[in-house]
């Protein structure tokens, strides 16, 4: 005991630059414990049926809730299923007809471009604002940090439909606070200004909502990540005369690269498939101009009752995401190899 605590006490200041000090520390720690134990533990992992039994519930639920619908969805995308076919329970296979119809439709391509632009704008805003707030969290004193963290967690915990309703009222044409605010600030033309006039303006408001709802995740993670960056690194950077910007790019960013990678790609996935915010705000309107791919699939499928076509849209959506994400997977696999 005494040896161990002594070792810890002495090693702490030496620990300063983690990478260089980590290695010499190893034998010291090894002296304290028996190096063999973890390896022996690994060797005695249960074998036979037990691991499979343990993982089975997860696999079964994923297969039942994810794989089965996915396979059905892919099958459906090759079938002709509209209102009549659904009621008569006939679902003739029509090969690639749904796909050729979609790919030849200008509306589909408009929605694709819109979805990508929407995702890009959102992810950039979320990452920039989230990182900034994360850095702010790291700099704040205990009390203010608590206040800000609480505010972030509350924004994050807000149910989506509830927050959409609040936003609808904020930007309401007749009774909205935002119109009132603009008038009070002396701007002209905000008497009954319709914030949902065009698809673009509607998507801008949805962007505000999505960014507001996603920033807490990035900010809190960023803060958690920053706590792992040793204070001495900042000190060293300061000694070398680095300014704030340089400190970020040369010290923080390389250290937190895995964090940025994971969060950025998670945000890409989440924003690209964001349905509730977009649909609840204006049901894809006005005149279908704020539809993104998931909303487009829903409106074609549920509202217009073209179930086969909607399945084709969602399959194409998955394919697009796979292409986008393949970049990310390649990166991860490459890193794995390096290690």
């Amino acid at each position: 005991m005494t040896v161990h605590s002594q070792g810890a006490a002495t090693s702490a200041p030496q620990d300063a630059p983690p990478k260089s000090a980590g290695r010499p520390k190893a034998p010291l720690a090894g002296a304290g414990r028996t190096t063999g134990t973890p390896r022996r533990g690994r060797a005695s992992l249960p074998s036979g049926w037990l691991p499979y039994a343990l993982i089975a519930p997860a696999v079964v639920s994923i297969a039942g809730l994810l794989l089965y619908p996915l396979v059905k969805n892919i099958l459906l995308s090759f079938q002709q299923v509209n209102k009549i076919e659904l009621i008569q329970r006939k679902a003739p296979f029509i090969g690639l007809d749904n796909y050729t119809q979609l790919l030849g439709e200008s509306r589909f391509w408009t929605v694709v471009v819109r979805s990508f632009a929407f995702t890009a704008a959102n992810v950039v805003l979320i990452m920039v604002l989230g990182s900034l707030i994360g850095i702010l969290l790291n700099r704040l004193g205990t009390k203010m940090r608590l206040v800000l963290s609480l505010a972030l967690v509350m924004a994050w915990a807000m149910p989506i439909v509830a927050s959409v309703t609040v936003f609808q009222w904020l930007f309401d044409e007749q009774f909205g606070v935002v119109n009132w605010l603009m008038r009070t600030l002396g701007f002209a033309g905000y008497e009954q200004h319709n914030w949902f006039e065009s698809g673009f303006s509607t998507l801008v408001i949805i962007t505000v909502l999505v960014v507001w709802g996603s920033v807490p995740f990035v900010a809190l993670n960023m803060y958690a990540g920053l706590t792992t960056v040793g204070a001495e690194l900042y000190e060293a950077a300061k000694m070398d005369g680095a300014n704030g910007w340089q400190t970020f790019w040369k010290v923080v960013f390389p250290n937190l690269k895995p964090f940025f990678l994971v969060t950025t790609f998670l945000e890409v996935i989440w924003v690209f498939k964001a349905f509730t915010q977009v649909y609840a705000m204006r049901s894809g309107g006005p005149d279908r101009a704020s539809e993104t791919l998931p909303v487009f699939a829903y409106i074609e499928g549920q509202a217009q009752q073209h179930y086969g076509l909607a399945a084709a849209i969602s399959v194409l959506t998955i394919l697009m995401l796979v292409v986008v994400m393949s970049f990310y997977f390649r990166l991860i696999l490459k890193q794995e190899e390096e290690q």
């Binding site: 994810l66 007749q174 996935i269 989440w270 309107g285």
Partner: protein
Amino acid sequence: MKRKLIAAVGVAGMMAGVAACGNGGDDKGTADANGNKTVTVWVMDGSAPKAWLDEVNKEFEAKHPNTKVKVEIQQWKGIQEKVTTALSENTPPDVIELGNTQTAGYAVTGGLADLTGDKAKLGADAWQKGMLSSAEVDGKLYSAPWYAANRVVVYDKKAYQKAGVTPPKTRDEWIAGLEKLKASDPATQPIYLPGQSWYVLAGFVWDEGGELAVKDGGKWKGQLGTPQAASAMEFYKKLQSFSTAPKDKDEATPQQSTDIVPKGGVASWIGLGWEAQGALKALKEAGKEGDFGYFPIPGKTADKPGSVFLGGSNLAVAERSKNKDLAKEWLALAAGKDQMTKYAAATEGALLPNQQAANFAAAAGSFAESMAKGAAAGKITPVTAGWANVETEPNPIKEFMTKVLKGEDAAKAGEAADKEIASRINK
């Protein structure tokens, strides 16, 4: 390891959102435990007074022991998706109320039972011919007409008196009255008219001699790009300029009768009978006293009221119903002369029953009296299976209206709408 895990989580997260597109239909059991049967009836919100329904069911249950009637009230919003799913199930509701513009669309799917052979039992001979047309497809009967209704102008008597306006007979008088109302009380909207009240627009289109869609060489095509639709829209725009109602909403969001009118500041609005009753009730709950007058939508000339959409509902039996015979019995009872007479009385004539003999003698100055006057110029949307597809959201007629109200050229917006209509109506 960790990274592979993250990758796997990423994939799972992606799939979960995109693929989850299933539709959840709840199975309602018509289970016959102990030989008890349940007849499930779907009626729309605002269609049937509860007291009347209870009485019909009591009579039915007395006649058929061990049988229970379960009534489920449905909302109009999103009803088509719901009915489609219901008709595809093994245990659909036995009796379904369908809007008269949507019935043909369901008849061709095979989801509705053919009632042609039951005409005598249902008392089909007594039905109003005008209402029957929406219940039939190719000479076969798929539903029983139930009721019809049309919109009238509901006005606040006090506001009209204060401005010295009397119910108008022509469009010009109508507009002149609205001008006066505006001058007398700038804080009140002379008329509440949202931008997407498309049934109102349909009436104006018919007044101009236009149509919503016509059949041309075996194919249907939209008629919103025509000069008739443009002048109808011009008048709608003029009316709408007296309202502060949103241009991109219909009369149901927010519900004009219960969300807007009870708040005050509305001198008049265009609505149905159940809406007027709902508004009066909501006013009472708010501690206010509503005093409404009614007049038919004015026509271009004084000798004829404005055309109106003759909305209404039919009652159909689901083809897959497990209790088809019982369902038909219920239909015959509810849509029969005795119960229809009581029905007309229970709604005080605000809903026209399916047969002349059941008509309710409307009191002078009542909603029903104005409605009956307006019904003389009543019409329905094109009777074709594809029309139901046109009405699904996003409805191209509504988008057309919003565009024109916001200043787009009516011919151009109409052309875009016609294109969309053509792609849906011929399916």
